[in-house]
């Protein structure tokens, strides 16, 4: 159907025009219809309703002491909850914004300064950075170090050195009470 049929003898020039018009109009409608019909198939690969609904994780933070961190799972990914020490907060706060690859103030990345909550997934290619456990390497800036390709994050989870393009993401969360935080 790509080109006008050439085999039949058109009865007149007028007939030829009418047929060409029909051919192009029908082809256009057919192509448009097929394209639209593919959408349900593509869309079926997007997250399903039950996946989208699994949006929150509650974390009990009462037992996390300053300097400690826990990792919880949210939407299938690790989330870092770190109880920062005053020194870590100061270090994060006093970093000059100008020397950052992805400039962001520490105050914009936390709701309460002592609680830093991040998606634990390196913005380079998605490995989980080290630095949650006391014995882990924390990188040159005292935050996290990604062993896959050597990205260093600071005590605010901002990228300081290595290939990662952006800071560790901050998930949506809220403190439901003094000892519980709901992520998502």
């Amino acid at each position: 159907m790509a080109e006008p049929a050439h085999n039949a003898q058109p009865s007149s020039v007028d007939g030829q025009t009418r047929r060409d018009f029909l051919l192009y109009a029908t082809s256009a409608v057919g192509v448009a219809g097929t394209a639209i019909a593919l959408w349900p198939f593509v869309h079926s690969m997007n997250p399903a309703a039950d996946t989208l609904a699994l949006s929150t994780t509650d974390v009990d933070i009462s037992a996390i002491k300053p300097g400690q961190a826990v990792t919880v799972i949210w939407q299938g990914r690790p989330v870092f909850v770190r109880h920062r020490t005053p020194e870590e907060i100061t270090a994060a706060d006093q970093t000059a914004i100008g020397e950052l690859r992805d400039p962001q103030k520490d105050a914009d990345r936390v709701k309460k300064p002592e609680w830093l909550i991040l998606v634990g997934s390196c913005t380079h290619l998605g490995c989980v950075p080290l630095g949650q456990k006391p014995a882990d390497p924390k990188g040159e800036f005292g935050g996290w170090f990604c062993p896959c390709h050597g990205s260093h994050y600071d005590t605010s989870g901002r990228i300081r050195k290595g290939p990662a393009p952006r800071n560790l993401a901050v998930p949506p969360y809220q403190f439901t009470n003094d000892t519980t935080v709901r992520i998502g």
Binding site: P10, V29, P40, S44, A48, D50, A63
Partner: protein, 665 residues
């Protein structure tokens, strides 16, 4: 081939190394086709389109399907409820299977009517039969995958046929099962093969077309094309005619998908597979029914041949005999158009197949058994006695000298045959409908008809009935609190509704399980910890899950409505019910464990509607239907749009076809 010319350098470069363009030119554009093919010749290309749709929808279904006995049923329900357009893809696939068989049966019968199996097209016929055989296997294994009651028991019955094989039968069956019953290993291997076989069909279709293009198409006159005046190029004449046919067919197919998606399905398959209970009526899909009738019609052992073995052999023979057709039919004339005797016996054969199919859908007793046995004998007699004889005694009419001479117009019956076969499915479906006529609510249900939608107010009232009454005993495990947004509840209202219940979660950091309030994303919390507890608390009778109740019973909404209103305080004379049971007109066997669940004013409706028991029944049935078919509103509204589009598109294709063909007619 040699006549392929191009000025495009890239095309020429490729053509020199891989002659794909000349192949397309040769076999899809210039291919000389008899000029007199009627609409019965559309069904081959339609079947090819259907195969592509089946493979496409199947691939996307697999992305969300889990082949495990504990998860398969739930994963299919997740496809229906949560996956974007999952209901559409699944209904396209499940109805597509029936459509595929309708198309292929018409295609086969066309070949039989016009003698397309005769020399030199015997191999073409064989390859087609091979495709049909692989389709039967594929269809059967696909039906097992949802792991409903008929999946499990259909698989059990069909695999047990092989136990009829003498000596090694039981070993063969154990091998097929990978265990001692149809279980997880069986499901896994069926899934593997169900994914493999369509690609084998695809390859066979290529060989089929190859053979076709070697011998060229037969035609309604059954005489060979004698020269260029008898043929026209495939493109544009048959490309446009096939496309027009596809437009018409899609409307037929999608009418089922959007408005009666379970027409060909058995309600029992919406009950999860249970290895302890066989459904009362166990039926294969409609497209196997004639062969199933042959299987059932052998009832007497003859010498060492048990009735069981005879049935199995008879069934396989009924299919394999088709391979001998080119030689059993002794007439030299192909088309039934010129064979007055054969034409009548052809239609008798079609009738016999329909009768066999009908008989198979009913219990094998009394007169029907006799009819089935007679039909079986006639089926074989058609091939082994009638065809060889009429080929010799029949005096064919004079054949025209060439195709170009009388261009016949045989446009008819497509719709009639399709409706006939569709009715076949309906007959099989209605086979469970015994008992008194079902009650219908005044004014019917709001969601009936082409444009019918759920009545939101009735849904909310129905939810109130479910919440206050039904949910004290019944679970509804496929519906989540978040789904109540469909009824018009806000996020905060849903949160409050969910928080009424507690669910077990954990383990927490100390390793202990704990209870927390349910959330919107949780499924409806069941009233009992597990099925054993539910049965124990209800005198041993498990209150069934209500998620799919309206789909899992024949005429579901009317059945449930009637059941709720069908109690009798004292059992009628001669219908004594056991201790602890109650009499209900509509429940199978009449003795039901559930006490009358509704009565006037059992709930106080928040919207002020008077809660008569008829009103309550209508509302809860509406809610249950939403629970079973939450996609209904979206399905019908999409259906209207798709049909309008297809009507326009098909009309344009028809106009174009008319333009292209007017110089040929």
């Amino acid at each position: 081939m040699s006549d392929f010319k191009t000025n495009n350098k890239v095309v020429a470069w490729i053509e020199e190394r891989l002659p794909i363009f000349s192949m397309i030119q040769h076999s899809a554009i210039d291919y000389p086709t008899p000029r007199n093919l009627n609409y019965w010749w559309n069904f081959g290309s339609l079947a090819a389109v259907m195969l592509i749709i089946m493979i496409l929808t199947g691939i996307f279904l697999v992305m969300n399907y889990t082949p495990h006995v504990t998860l398969a049923f739930d994963s299919v329900e997740r496809i229906m409820r949560d996956v974007n357009y999952g209901w559409l893809i699944r209904y396209l696939h499940s109805n597509g299977a029936s459509m595929f068989f309708i198309l292929v049966y018409i295609h086969i019968l066309r070949g039989m009517y016009y003698g397309s199996y005769k020399a030199p097209r015997e191999l073409l016929w064989f390859i087609g039969l091979a495709i049909y055989l692989v389709m039967m296997g594929t269809g059967f294994m696909g039906y097992v995958l949802p792991w409903g009651q008929l999946s499990l028991w259909g698989a059990t019955v069909i695999t047990n046929m092989f136990s009829a094989v003498p000596l090694v039968g039981d070993m063969v069956v154990t091998l097929l099962w990978g265990g001692f019953s149809v279980d997880n290993p069986t499901l896994n291997r069926f899934f593997s093969l169900h994914y493999l076989l369509p690609f084998i069909i695809f390859a066979l279709v290529f060989v089929h077309v190859w053979a076709l293009h070697t011998t060229k198409s037969n035609n309604p006159l059954g005489i060979e094309a004698k020269g260029p005046q008898d043929t026209i190029p495939f493109h544009p004449y048959y490309t446009i005619k096939d496309l027009y046919g596809i437009g018409l067919f899609l409307m037929f197919y999608l009418a089922f998908v959007f408005w009666s998606p379970n027409f060909f399905a058995e309600p029992d398959n919406y009950i999860p597979g249970n290895p302890l209970v066989t459904p009362a009526h166990i039926l294969p899909e409609w497209y196997y029914l004639p062969f199933y009738a042959i299987l059932k019609s052998f009832t007497v052992d003859i010498w060492v041949l048990s009735a069981k073995l005879q049935g199995v052999l008879g069934m396989f023979a009924a299919i394999l005999i088709l391979f001998f057709l080119p030689w059993l039919d002794s007439s030299k004339v192909r088309s039934a158009k010129f064979r007055p005797l054969y034409r009548q016996f052809f239609w008798l054969f079609v009738l016999d197949c329909l009768v066999l199919g009908y008989v198979a859908s009913k219990p094998a007793e009394g007169l029907l058994l006799r009819i089935g046995q007679f039909g079986t004998v006639y089926y074989f007699a058609h091939f082994l006695v009638i065809l060889p004889i009429i080929g010799r005694i029949e005096k064919p009419k004079a054949l025209p000298s060439s195709i170009a001479n009388p261009v016949i117009k045989a446009v008819a019956l497509v719709a009639m045959i399709m409706v006939g076969i569709a009715g076949f499915g309906g007959a099989a479906q209605a086979s469970g409908g015994e008992g008194p006529a079902l009650k219908k609510p005044d004014g019917g249900f709001s969601w009936e008809g082409v444009f019918g939608r759920y009545d939101k107010a009735a849904l909310k009232r129905g939810w109130q009935v479910f919440h206050d009454v039904c949910s004290n005993c019944h679970s509804m495990r496929f519906v989540s609190y978040r789904n109540l947004a469909d009824l018009g509840y806000t996020a905060d209202e849903i949160k409050a509704i969910a928080a009424e219940k507690e669910v077990q979660d954990g383990p927490n950091d100390e390793g202990a399980m704990f209870a927390r309030p349910a959330r919107a994303s949780d499924r409806f919390v069941s009233p009992f910890a597990n099925e054993k507890a539910a049965a124990a608390a209800n005198g041993g009778a498990l209150p069934p899950d209500l998620s799919l109740m309206n789909k899992a019973r024949a005429n579901g909404p009317y059945y449930v409505y009637s059941l709720l209103l069908g109690y009798e305080e004292t059992a009628p004379e001669g219908h004594a019910v056991p201790e602890g049971k109650l009499f209900n007109h509509y429940f199978p066997g009449n003795a039901i464990g559930m006490p009358p669940p509704i009565m006037d004013d059992i709930v106080a409706y928040t919207d002020g509607t008077k809660a008569t028991k008829e009103q309550v029944a209508k509302d809860i049935v509406t809610f249950l239907n939403w629970a079973a078919e939450p996609e209904l509103d979206a399905r019908k509204s999409l259906g209207v749009k798709v049909m309008l589009f297809l009507a326009l598109f098909t009309a344009m294709l028809y106009a174009l076809k008319h333009q292209i063909w007017k110089d040929v007619h």
